[in-house]
């Protein structure tokens, strides 16, 4: 069954349809639109948030931290932060798979906006080993190490410079909401996969340990804000704006500025796990009126582009022979439920995390997905 509004269908985990055939993800989107208004209301909220940030950071060199990847959303957020009069520190997690465009985009945005950078580079062999472990674990969360590491680095940078606010470039209106059950990320999950399948010690990987995270929440009171939720964010116009004003360049697809993420999204997820992330992204664009449903369906019918060179590059770096790689691809699928995670702990701490969400210390999506 297909949603009558977006392009999700009954294969999506956790999907339900109402009497008009509209799916629950569309409903979540509408609720979020109410909770996070744009236009004048959104502008007012943003101005208030900016004032809080400025006040919180008046004694520090920087007043907020922004994670940058060279991508469209984080690049725009840098501009927005400057427009709001903020003094951001850009933070980049280099997983050693940067594309040239990503690096150039970060360089040009930071240079033109006069924003300082902090980069954390993980040891290449350690990251290769961790990635290999995740592939061998046969779970869809191959990007977990990168996502977890970036979160940790953002907190570390905020703590070091006494910054109270982490600005996140997520935009539900163009990125959508990941279906519940598609994946799950936490530090203990990374640890348990590494323990079982990793070969190198974890020395440079910045894992997000619960205790450390709670300290940042409770003691340091570092908040996570999503300013783009309050902006009428239009993807195509934003890309044009960034290109014309900053020399920023588009890299072909969502999250494709990082070659390893590209490999995950365009090869592993569709091939092994039957997950096509474009469904989520295009559904969001359809709901926001930025893409016609017919266009979305047409685009989704075409296979995701992938270069054989990139697959070979991944195999080489991860020290997989062709046979090993193929056998890993055909292993039976597993999920986070097959490994130890913090999930039981998060569930027990549900009320605590409800409070953290209300205080803007954790995103609402975390509360909904991780504590149930």
């Amino acid at each position: 069954m297909f949603c009558s509004r977006c392009i999700l269908d009954s294969r999506i985990p956790g999907i339900t349809f109402d009497e008009n055939g509209v799916c629950n993800y569309c409903k979540i989107h509408d609720e979020m639109c109410k909770e996070y208004p744009t236009g004048e209301k959104g502008q007012k909220i943003l101005t208030k948030i900016a004032e809080n940030i400025k006040r919180g950071g008046r004694k520090s060199k920087y007043d907020c931290v922004i994670g940058v990847s060279g991508g469209c959303d984080s690049s725009y957020l840098l501009y927005l932060a400057r427009k709001l009069g903020l003094r951001p520190l850009a933070v980049h997690f280099d997983n050693t798979w940067n594309s040239t465009i990503a690096v150039e985009n970060i360089h040009t945005m930071l240079k033109k906006l006069d924003i300082e950078l902090y980069t954390y580079v993980i040891d290449n062999e350690e990251f290769n080993d961790l990635s290999r472990a995740f592939l061998s674990a046969s779970v869809p969360e191959i990007d977990a190490p990168t996502d977890i590491a970036l979160t940790t680095i953002l907190y570390l940078a905020a703590e070091k410079h006494k910054i109270k606010y982490i600005l996140n470039a997520h935009t539900f209106r163009t990125e959508g909401i990941s279906p519940i059950g598609w994946w799950y990320f936490d530090g203990k999950y990374v640890q348990s996969i590494h323990r079982q399948l990793g070969k190198r010690p974890m020395k440079t990987f910045p894992n997000l340990w619960l205790r450390q995270w709670l300290k940042w929440l409770i003691l340091n009171r570092i908040k996570r804000i999503r300013p783009l939720y309050y902006v009428d964010y239009r993807k195509e116009e934003t890309k044009r704006f960034l290109t014309e004003n900053f020399g920023w360049r588009w890299y072909g697809g969502h999250h494709m500025e990082n070659k390893f993420t590209f490999f995950n999204h365009n090869y592993i997820l569709p091939k092994k796990f039957d997950i096509d992330l474009r469904l989520v992204e295009f559904s969001a664009l359809v709901r926001s009126g930025q893409m016609a449903k017919r266009e979305a369906l047409e685009k989704i019918s075409k296979p995701m582009p992938i270069e054989e060179n990139l697959v070979n590059e991944v195999k080489k770096r991860l020290h997989f022979t062709d046979e090993e790689f193929n056998s890993v691809l055909s292993l039976p699928k597993k999920t986070a439920k097959n490994y130890e995670t913090y999930r039981p702990t998060f569930k027990r701490m549900r009320s605590f995390f409800w409070l953290m969400y209300k205080l803007d210390l954790v995103p609402k999506s975390f509360f909904i997905k991780y504590t149930r």
Binding site: N98, T100, I106, L117, V121, N124
Partner: protein
């Protein structure tokens, strides 16, 4: 008109890229192959890779990594670190590097440079000189990654190496390495005036404008480490490289015009004993 060559100088330690300050405290920069791919896409003029641990750890050059790097480079690529035999050079050139960089072994055995340049051609042989300024104002060379100092005068050594057949001199200022305070212009001038082969300046570049200054001092080519891997005051890792247009703007004049202002002092024939003060 021949362009001034501008390119990154990358340091390899085990399987990762690192960056030093005054040849100390190597700091991790990233994956060598991904970095090469980025510089290749940026169409840098050349690439120099130096394995900073091969000589001190007394091991062979990492042929596997050299081969991988060569396959990603569609520009000339020079490798240095731990080269001690003609066989080493032959292997490295056959797996795809255009040139080799020899440092410590040239001091142990200067005629090795003569043998190598006769066999492989001068244009494949770069001699690297790590120079440190002494309190008396002279520059002496160091070997083994800066760990062994000598009393050999850098300028005299450069002329000796040219005489032996070196095609180029890679001139490193140990004092300026990683400081981003600018090249050692005095050292560059002295060495460039003493030899008629190209001198590649290395060590100290802090901003793109430094490239112009060191060319005026006589460098035929310019290389940098920190400048092309770091961004900003925090010295955060971010690969960067000036565009062709930026390089041309920095240099302002053609290389021939620049060369016409650099004098080439007549070389004297040095005996090895003369080199040591």
């Amino acid at each position: 008109m021949l362009g001034v060559r501008v390119f990154p100088c990358l340091l390899l330690k085990n399987s990762g890229l690192v960056k030093t300050i005054k040849f100390q405290n190597p700091r991790y920069i990233g994956d060598p192959i991904n970095t090469v791919k980025i510089y290749n896409e940026k169409e840098v003029d050349e690439l120099v890779f130096l394995d900073i641990a091969a000589t001190t750890e007394n091991r062979k050059p990492p042929f596997n990594i050299i081969s991988q790097i060569a396959s990603e480079c569609f520009m000339p690529f020079a490798y240095g670190g731990g080269i001690r035999s003609l066989e080493d050079i032959k292997t490295i050139l056959s797996i795809g590097a255009e040139k080799v960089v020899i440092n410590s072994y040239a001091v142990e055995n200067p005629s090795f440079i003569k043998e190598a340049s006769e066999l492989f051609g001068s244009q494949s042989i770069i001699v690297s000189i790590d120079a440190k300024k002494h309190s008396n104002g002279s520059y002496y060379i160091s070997t083994h990654g800066g760990n062994k100092s000598t009393k050999i005068n850098s300028i005299a050594w450069a002329t000796k190496m040219e005489e032996m057949g070196a095609g180029e001199i890679l001139l490193n200022s140990i004092d300026r390495d990683g400081t981003m305070e600018g090249y050692d212009l005095e050292l560059t001038k002295k060495v460039s005036e003493a030899v008629s082969i190209p001198v590649i300046a290395c060590g100290g570049a802090g901003k793109y404008e430094d490239i112009g200054k060191v060319v005026e001092a006589g460098a035929s080519a310019v290389t940098a480490g920190s400048l092309f891997v770091y961004q900003g005051k925090n010295r955060s890792v971010l690969i960067n490289f000036p565009t062709r247009k930026e390089i041309e703007e920095i240099l302002g004049r053609s290389i021939e015009e620049i060369y016409s202002t650099v004098k080439c002092v007549r070389r004297q024939k040095f005996q090895i004993n003369d080199l040591v003060e």
